[in-house]
């Protein structure tokens, strides 16, 4: 589509869109049993996803955001990984208690996932069209062969791949990175899933292509009513796409809020640190970025108190000794910090 421009629609804000929950994750804990000890990759994580909602899970490498997604789909490599507790309810059914065959009917059909690098999930020896057809034949058994083929082309058209009939006959390596990501989205959405999990879907893409793909995901979500879990490390992407945000650190949720509340008044020092450490495109060019000192602790040797305490400039003795409770401080705004109230009132620990 040379020379054309599209418009990224502004989203309606927050709770206005929240319908009944389609997916509920409760107390999910996924641990890895390694020679060096138990790695608590995901530790007691709960959230609900409403119909048509976009929930962002944000955090840095190793915070557990991707393992949370793999746990929902029953794709945690085992051994060494194991889901040691919790429930993942899809419209009331706990996916952690169904057998592998039932899970296969869920994956790609009711819950789909797209990844950072499309080449890892596209089959290099099958044409793009054949791969979409495969998903349809597997899950939509009522469709005839002709209908399946037509639907595959229709999906490629939906994700705005030019010349969809021709592209359907091409192999993944013949497409550009952006086109491959579109093809993967077409495949993921072909069975009209209720939930789409997008794990860093634009991280490997150039910024102009990233904008195209984000706009595409949001547009399709609106048209198809899919709920989206967007896993990302990029606060810019979060701010532009999500309605609600969960911030994870060292395997646990540290904060959760509607997107505007989170950016206006973050109630966890880690969230504040993240926001301070990114350079901006439009503000005054400050001399120094606010850095978070130190680095993420090893997940097999977490401190007894708050996992962020060793890097937190506000930490007190209590933070190092006792794990702070995860509490709701304002309607819909949760944080696990002993000093969330002080942050709320003074912006810092007095």
């Amino acid at each position: 589509m040379p020379g054309e421009t599209a418009t990224l629609p502004a989203l309606p804000e927050g709770a206005a869109r929240a319908g009944p929950p389609v997916l509920e994750v409760e107390g999910l804990s996924t641990w890895f049993f390694t020679r060096r000890g138990i790695v608590r990759a995901v530790d007691d994580v709960s959230f609900a996803l409403a119909e048509g909602e976009t929930l962002a899970i944000v955090g840095e490498s190793g915070c557990g955001k991707s393992i949370t997604a793999l746990s929902i789909l029953g794709l945690v490599p085992s051994p060494p990984g194991r889901i040691v507790g919790g429930a993942v309810r899809l419209r009331g059914t706990d996916l952690l208690r169904v057998d592998e065959e039932a899970m296969r009917r869920v994956r790609g059909n009711e819950i789909s996932m797209i990844f950072q690098e499309p080449m890892t999930s596209l089959n290099p020896v099958l044409t793009i069209g054949a791969q979409i057809e495969e998903a349809l034949t597997l899950h939509q058994t009522a469709l005839s062969r002709a209908e399946v083929r037509a639907r595959a082309v229709e999906m490629l058209q939906l994700v705005r791949i030019p010349e969809p009939e021709r592209r359907a006959k091409e192999y993944p390596h013949q497409l550009s990175g952006g086109m491959r990501q579109r093809a993967m989205i077409a495949m993921a959405l072909s069975c009209n899933p209720r939930v789409l999990i997008a794990d860093e879907p634009t991280t490997a893409l150039d910024v102009t292509i990233q904008a195209q793909i984000l706009e595409l995901i949001l547009d399709l979500q609106r048209r198809l009513g899919t709920a989206v879990i967007l896993i990302t490390h990029d606060l810019g992407v979060v701010a532009e796409t999500a309605q609600r945000v969960i911030v994870m650190y060292a395997g646990r949720k540290v904060e959760e809020a509607e997107v505007v509340a989170l950016f206006e008044q973050p109630l966890h020092p880690y969230t504040r640190g993240l926001m301070g450490s990114i350079p901006h495109l439009v503000d005054e060019n400050t001399e120094r970025l606010a850095e978070i000192p130190g680095m993420v602790p090893a997940l097999n040797a977490l401190p007894p108190g708050c996992a962020f305490a060793p890097r937190c400039t506000m930490a007190t003795e209590r933070c190092h000794a006792e794990m702070p409770p995860y509490r709701e401080w304002q309607p819909g705004h949760y944080s696990a910090c002993w000093y969330a109230e002080a942050l709320m009132q003074h912006g810092a620990v007095p």
């Binding site: 589509m1 040379p2 020379g3 054309e4 421009t5 599209a6 418009t7 990224l8 629609p9 502004a10 989203l11 804000e13 840095e60 490498s61 550009s176 990175g177 952006g178 086109m179 150039d206 910024v207 102009t208 292509i209 990233q210 904008a211 195209q212 984000l214 706009e215 490390h233 990029d234 606060l235 810019g236 992407v237 979060v238 701010a239 532009e240 796409t241 999500a242 997107v259 505007v260 950016f263 206006e264 640190g273 993240l274 301070g276 450490s277 990114i278 350079p279 901006h280 495109l281 439009v282 060019n285 001399e287 120094r288 970025l289 606010a290 850095e291 978070i292 000192p293 680095m295 993420v296």
Partner: protein
């Protein structure tokens, strides 16, 4: 003042070979007539999307790969045709740090040996002095001298990038070329490394050629910024001017595409469509015309020269 680094008409074409006889069937026009200068103590940012040639510019300027055409001057001296031996004294003045610190560090030798290696190779210090210099460098980049005996795999990504910076600093260079030096790091660690690079520039009067795709990072660290598209510089200006009043339609499109970390500023916006064309088969005229919303007939025919649109603000566009 003489520029620390000045490249003129820098060009690098790679042959595309195919078949048993490796016959050349075409060319990748990676870099096509790029000119710029980096002043002492200055950071010049070089931005663009994958395949625009920005990394090739860095490597060619370092003479890690040979240019097809053009010249490279270091402190006013032409280093374009120098032999390996003749290059050697100049290597001290110009160092490079890479995106993936792990791939650029020898896994079999200790971090201390890695940082001390340039000193040893250039015969600049005996073993004892070297040890002291390396310890001082470790402290300066935020590592403990006790970590000198550890191997690269024992460090985190951010620490490995610090080792890379310490090694680059060992010879006290005038210029450091950073090829996506913070792109692989988590944001909290990225901020640490950006701050370190800025502090070092303040202390030592270093010049940087900072190659990156992240516009916010480039804006934060650069004094001037050059934007590349398919092997050519399309715009070059002071950072403030480039971000406040971009002149080239591609720069405009890039800036509009960056997500803004403020949900209240979420707004309808224009997104440029299409992919970057292949550098093997570039569109004629202005390479950007296939995606440009303002393109006219002349844009498809003639390549616009890079000319001054305002003092110090260069742009390659027929319409500006």
């Amino acid at each position: 003042m003489t520029a620390v680094l000045e490249v003129e008409g820098l060009t690098k074409h790679f042959a595309v070979r195919k078949g048993l006889l490796r016959r050349a069937i075409g060319k990748v026009y990676a870099v096509d007539g790029v000119s710029f200068a980096v002043a002492p103590g200055e950071t010049l940012g070089l931005v663009g999307e994958s395949g625009c040639g920005k990394s090739t510019v860095g490597r060619t300027a370092m003479r890690l790969i040979e240019p097809t055409a053009g010249s490279i001057h270091l402190h006013g001296q032409d280093i374009t045709g120098l032999s390996r031996a003749e290059m050697r004294p100049h290597r001290r003045a110009m160092q490079i740090i890479f995106q993936d610190p792990y791939a650029s560090l020898n896994p079999r030798i200790t971090a201390g040996e890695i940082v001390g290696e340039p000193l040893r190779v250039h015969g600049l210090a005996d073993a004892r002095q070297r040890e002291d210099r390396v310890a001082a460098l470790f402290r300066r980049v935020g590592l403990r001298p006790a970590q000198m005996k550890n191997y690269p795999h024992e460090f985190s990504g951010g620490q490995r990038q610090r080792i890379g910076i310490a090694r680059a600093l060992a010879l006290d260079p005038a210029l450091i070329i950073g090829d996506e030096p913070v792109s692989a790091l988590d944001v909290s660690i990225q901020a640490q490394v950006i701050n370190l690079l800025r502090d070092l520039q303040g202390e030592r009067g270093l010049s940087y050629l900072f190659i990156a795709h992240d516009l916010a990072v480039v804006r934060h660290i650069s004094h001037r910024v050059a934007v590349m598209y398919l092997g050519r510089i399309v715009e070059l200006a002071e950072t403030r001017a480039l971000f406040a009043t971009p002149q080239h339609p591609y720069t405009e499109a890039l800036l509009a595409a960056v997500p803004v970390a403020d949900p209240r500023k979420r707004r309808p916006r224009r997104i440029i469509q299409g992919d970057v064309p292949s550098p093997i088969n570039r569109p004629p005229g202005c390479h950007f015309h296939t995606r440009c919303p303002y393109a006219e007939a002349r844009c498809r025919e003639a390549a616009p020269p890079l000319k001054q649109a305002a003092p110090g603000h260069l742009v390659a566009c027929h319409l500006r």
